[in-house]
């Protein structure tokens, strides 16, 4: 009896004393957050994760782009209820169709960046020999891009009221019980510019396909300055990209085929969308813009070009950009379906085998830089402006080139619509320029109760509400809700 008792007790003691290891269990697919970044290689993996998160359905993968064009009146819908039509009808409240995915997803990106920067700072403080410069440059540029998009979604245009509420300006990781409040639009833009300027010298000038480089940073600066109404700043940045970046405008004969290729000569920042990773399949942007049931019964024909856009493009029936447009579901001739994100109107994709939805998202193209340069030069040097505009305008070969005498802001804005259609710009252009937007409600024969047919930036729904989920967890920000929500 005694022997067995002793054995038992000994076994018990042994088991219990071994407990510290026995009770420390980790999964095999995740690492400890505190020690995940030790080298530049580790940091690059985090940058990969960040780029991937930009391809999310809640961001450049789909909704952010649709937001710019559906809200901007360049897109319309054929029927309500197919999905995402609230983007077009503005049928959103803080609690339903709130598009809170923008808020949560973009702040998740901010967290990843802040965490990465803090991890790098901690490794660097330990006298590491690792060179994190290019990583930091990408992280800061990405942070600027995300804040720029956030403040445009949730805050008034900088040119409208820079002292209005922007979004919480967070540059460190937050404790779980943090309840941050909104900064002003101006403070957000200050942060954006600060990050961009700090990042630029750290970045490589080589073309890093799928990632942010020095010229992507500069191109973003051009965009930001244009939105701030800082034309000299915008012109400087855009010209640097045009003149020194090593990018090339597509010739008219190449423009259409450029959509069947990845990382073309105009791509300054292009997000890689690959099968089995970022490919959204039947939820992809390409799917949302193609003709109903084209290639798959699940293609519901969500969005098509509005008559306003088509009329604009019809100024020249020979405009090369008709090449990515095709008949939509309507019976009369109506080339409303857009195939920029399907490769071509025959769904060839952009070079990934057997797949026409894994198509890269071209976030910044060189043609936009020409249009920014044109717009930024217009008040001071119309001749220069005309020169930049014509480089793009010639894609409609039958239109007369602009001259210093004939060029107008309208021409540039129209050209932006034609060239950057379905790339997420139109709405934000209308906001910053304080123009009105008219919606092609006749196409579906609807009269949305949630917005009038014509709106401008005085309409409260042009900025999104802070989602109720945020307000539940952070009541003080509820006091800073956007007006009328």
């Amino acid at each position: 009896m005694k022997t067995s008792t002793i054995i038992t007790i000994t076994a018990g003691v042994l088991v219990l004393s071994a407990c510290s290891g026995f009770l420390d269990v980790k999964p095999t697919n995740s690492g400890d957050a505190k020690t995940a970044v030790r080298t530049a290689g580790d940091a690059q993996v985090v940058i990969n994760g960040l780029m991937r998160s930009m391809t999310s359905v809640n961001y450049y993968g789909r909704n952010f782009i649709l937001y710019g064009d559906a809200r901007g009146g360049d897109l319309t819908i054929a029927s309500q209820g197919r999905g995402q039509d609230a983007l077009y009808t503005f049928n959103h409240t803080a609690s339903s169709n709130s598009y809170s995915g923008f808020w949560s997803h973009l702040y998740d990106g901010i967290l990843q960046i802040n965490n990465l920067l803090e991890n790098i700072a901690s490794v660097e403080s330990e006298d590491s020999n690792e060179d994190f410069g290019a990583i930091k440059g990408q992280a800061l540029t990405a942070r600027a891009l995300i804040y720029f998009d956030l403040v445009r979604l949730y805050g008034k245009a900088y040119t409208d009221d820079p002292s209005a509420y922007g979004v919480p300006n967070i540059t460190t990781t937050l404790p779980y019980n943090a309840q941050p409040l909104r900064a002003s639009v101006a403070e957000n833009y200050e942060q954006i510019v600060r990050d961009l300027e700090a990042a630029a010298p750290l970045l490589p000038t080589t073309h890093t396909n799928g990632y942010l480089n020095y010229y992507a940073n500069k191109a973003l600066q051009a965009r930001v300055f244009l939105h701030m109404g800082d034309y000299p700043g915008a012109l400087d940045a855009a010209e640097e990209v045009i003149n020194e970046g090593g990018y090339q405008l597509y010739a008219n004969t190449d423009w259409n085929s450029s959509w069947t290729r990845q990382f073309g000569s105009e791509s300054i920042f292009e997000l890689g969308v690959f099968p089995d990773e970022a490919d959204l399949g039947s939820g992809s942007l390409g799917f949302y813009l193609r003709r109903r049931a084209h290639g798959a019964s699940t293609a519901a024909g969500w969005f098509m070009a509005s008559d306003y856009f088509l009329n604009r493009l019809s100024e020249d029936e020979g405009d090369v950009r008709w090449g990515v447009m095709a008949q939509d579901e309507s019976e009369d001739p109506h080339l409303g379906s857009c195939y920029k994100y399907s490769g071509s109107v025959d769904l060839v994709g952009d070079g990934k085998r057997d797949n026409n939805t894994a198509v890269n998202i071209k976030v910044i193209r060189l043609s936009e830089m020409y249009l920014i340069a044109a717009e930024a030069a217009l008040p001071t040097d119309p001749s220069k402006a005309a020169g930049y505009l014509n480089e793009i305008r010639k894609r409609a070969p039958n239109l007369p080139p602009a001259t210093a005498a004939s060029i107008t802001l309208d021409m540039i804005v129209d050209e932006r619509s034609k060239e950057l259609f379905a790339e997420g710009h139109r709405f934000f252009d209308m906001m910053r320029l304080n123009r009105s937007i008219e919606f092609n409600d006749e196409f579906a024969g609807i009269t949305p109760s949630s917005r009038p047919k014509i709106i401008d930036r005085s309409f409260y729904r042009t900025i999104l509400p802070i989602p109720t989920g945020e307000i539940y967890a952070n009541p003080a920000i509820g006091q800073q809700q956007n007006p009328e929500y």
């Binding site: 067995s4 026995f22 697919n29 702040y107 967290l111 399949g281 967890a473």
Partner: protein, 1049 residues
Amino acid sequence: MWLGALPTAWAQESTVTGKVTDAASGTALSGVTVSVSGSDTRVATDNNGNYQITAASGASLSFHAVGYAEQQVIVRGTVIDVALAATNQALDEVLVVAYGTTTRGSFTGAATSVSAADIQDAASVSFETALTGKMPGVQITNSSGQAGAAPSIRIRGIGSMNASNEPLYVIDGVPATAGGSGQLGDYIYTSNNVLNTLNPADIESVTVLKDAAAASLYGSRAANGVVLITTKRGKIGKPTINLRSAVGFTPAWATDNYEAAGVQEQVDMLYQVFHDYRTSNGWTEADANADALNRLNGKFNQHGYYFETGGTGLYETVHIKGMTDGLVNREGSYYDWEDLLFRTGMYQTHDLSVSGGTENTKYYSSLSYTQDQNRVVINGFDRVSGRVNLSQKVWDKVELTTNVSVARNKQHGYNDTRNLGLNYYLQTRNLLWPLYWPDDYKTGEPFTGRYGSYAYNADYYENEWDNSANSLRLGINETLSVQLLPSLNLKTVFSYENNEVKEFLYYSANHFNGTTDNGLVHEMSTAYTKLVSSTTATFAKNFGLHGINLLAGFEAEKNETDFQRSSGSNLPASSLPSVSTAGKLDASGYSWGYNMLSVLSRAEYSYDQRYNLSASYRRDGSSRFGPNDRWGDFWSVGAAWNIRQEAFMENTSWLNSLRLRASYGVNGTQPISNYGWRSLVGYSSRYMESGGASLTTLGNEDLTWETSYATNIGLEFSLMNSRLYGTVEYFNRDSKNLLQSVPISLVTGFGSILRNVGEVNNRGFEVMLGYHILQSDDWQWSASINGSFTRSEVTRLYAAEGESEAQPIVWYDPTGGDSRAQFIYQEGESMLSFYGFEWAGVNREDGRNVWYVNNQDDDQAGDFLYNGRGATYDYSNANPTILGSAIPTVFGGLNTDISYKGLVLGLNFMYKIGGSLYDGAFKDVGDDGYYWERIRAQYYYDHRWTDTNPNGSLPKLLGTDPTDAMQHSSRQMYDASFLRLKNINLAYAIPAGLTQRIGLANARIYFNGTNLLTFSRYKIADPEVNQYGTRGWETPFAKTYTFGIEFNF
């Protein structure tokens, strides 16, 4: 009276005589069956309780009477007197408890048990379902009628928010894995419960431990109660072969479930939507009429119908005409989708077991096959299971017990979700117009396109997708028991459990979920292993009137799950849906787990069988917590007083037993999340074919145990010769440091964090009363009723650091992933408080929805006054508020058994009174205008407001979509009370004379009916709802008629 015994083959036979009495009253018992175990010899006692039987010395005599515990006595000598104890209140009844057994008379805790006989006939693949309504304080709910769906068990309310509220399951002394298994849930909503691998026919008894004294020895997992399952063991005697077969049919659902309106009503309603839409945009009636007909034609011409109206008004009857340009003219004929997608389900089960034993060896072995075909055509479940339970005395003092079980479950055709394309039940109620046909009326070819946005030709798609889950579960449980001293026993248990789930999901290139990938197939394997080692020493000894029982031991547990997935797309042919044929491959694999270490001890003291005291202590360490809070202490104390045994009660002959118990203790709940305390970086965000990382979990290193403080007071009694018996229990459970995933500011980059957030109180009464109404030679009639009155309330919410006051927590019913109901945790309110907009009803003037504004500061604030309160037509102007609670006032069961000679009729009712149910599905079929393509329920058609039905309780059908149907509001709430005849069982034991002639020990035939009757005020669908009190698009429950036969050789 003496019934002649048949000659037996046993040697050294002698005549044994004796008297059988009632243990409590001492009165003689007549009609008691006395039989020699393992032989055919049986007699019955006469009116004076006397019997005479021929038996060999050393044989085992068995005494059996209805209402009494069976007793076995080894024949030694020729006179054997026996006192039988009435069951239910039988103080000597052996009760399986934590780490051992005890007798009911000395137990200080609260426990309920049922035996094999109570659960064996129910037509159910899961044993839990058969417990419904039989155990006070135990609420068993089903969310789905899908084949293989497993119920959820709540013992004494809801003590946890985020952590599990399921009890701990212990099978043959070893904590078992329970709950959902497999990973298919990441793709479609499934229910694949490990416990379904357990064959109900193998179960000897199920004991539910409810209070701290009973359960605290299981420490950190005991707060929600413990379900102890004991499997069958062999009995001394010659081999018994048991053969049981049952076949059941499910020709109908148990209740109506959102029955769709007729085709005429549907067409008229859609016409009205289009018409109203146009007139409210300023069109004339004539134009609106033309447009509405045009839209109807546009939608249905291709299916062979066109439409006409007599006039141009809103309420025209639309004439449905057949197109004449096709192969057929469909006028007057419509397609019956229900006929295609539902069938008469079939249930069958076949069990074979052999058991027996000697003094040294006891064995039980079984083989079983069960098949459950659901009424939904693609859904089915089957199981093959086998078990060997063997115990062998190695030496005089050493016993080795080996339990080996193997089970293979196969489930296929999951479709239990609000997913519009895949759920056939939803399709028939909400999407498939009778005007749609599986074939094209012009060509006769299958119709392959979609009918509307979401309706699909299920006839065609049926072959284009598939899913299944095969589980193989192996359990090996070795117990070595050494009687070191007469009073000291050492027991060591080692158990290994392996459950491997292989899952398969396939969509062909023709299927709407597979087109973009040109066919898609996933094959997954999830292997769960669990190792448990526990060693306990028990010292039990009586010193005169004093008895002590001491237990000490330790336990270690290791849980590991390995997951692998391979996926293929670009499939060459639909005939070979397999990853190996795919053009493109993708794979993933990883593992996770958790470990536990524990020491445990218990002390019991009894005096003169009158006083019992007990105390327990357990210390648990778990890998689910950070190093700061890894260990927790759990304990209990309990006492019982057997009042009837006191001298002063000696003359109260009407009272047969009276016992008072009380206990207090502390036990815990573990978080569901294995790694909630750690911040983790995940590597699933690949980018351009390189690895990508992101912070996926925000850890909380200060996470600590949920702790429950439970008090229990119980009174057990029986009187009138034990004909009337009952139990009353009061309990109070305060649960503190509750874990909850709390929404946090999204600006942090995360939506929520696991935190200890608050406190909950559950308290109430449980009452069980039984009465043997008739006890004559031929007639036996007994009935019992039980009820549980439980209040579950959030008592406190902790303010987070830096907050001045705690935030209420809004959460959603997780069932089905469709956020069908919104709840709130708020101090002083029910644990299941529905939260949303308060619907005031329909304005009688114009049929529009009216919402109460519920402005906290001013009840009159709003766009107008309605019933004296501020109201609005626009829900977005209203404030959400608490709308009611899903927790019933009382729930329980009503059970009665009537037997006449060999015929036994058992009725098992379940009931629930009070509380609300939230219908998360009716919004789809009772929609007032948002959905243009869907069909609606007859209930909506009948109850909607129209010009001619101004008292309609549901809003007017509009084309302008003023109300988003997805809002959480009291419009979808109903009284949850119901009474259901859960089971009716009619069994006939074939007379012994007849069976013996054909060599059978006994034989029985039976009929079992499930869900045959339901009474409820909620008529739209089935009132038996899930544990959150909500209903969605899960497969409804069916009526099952089962016929069975059982033989014993």
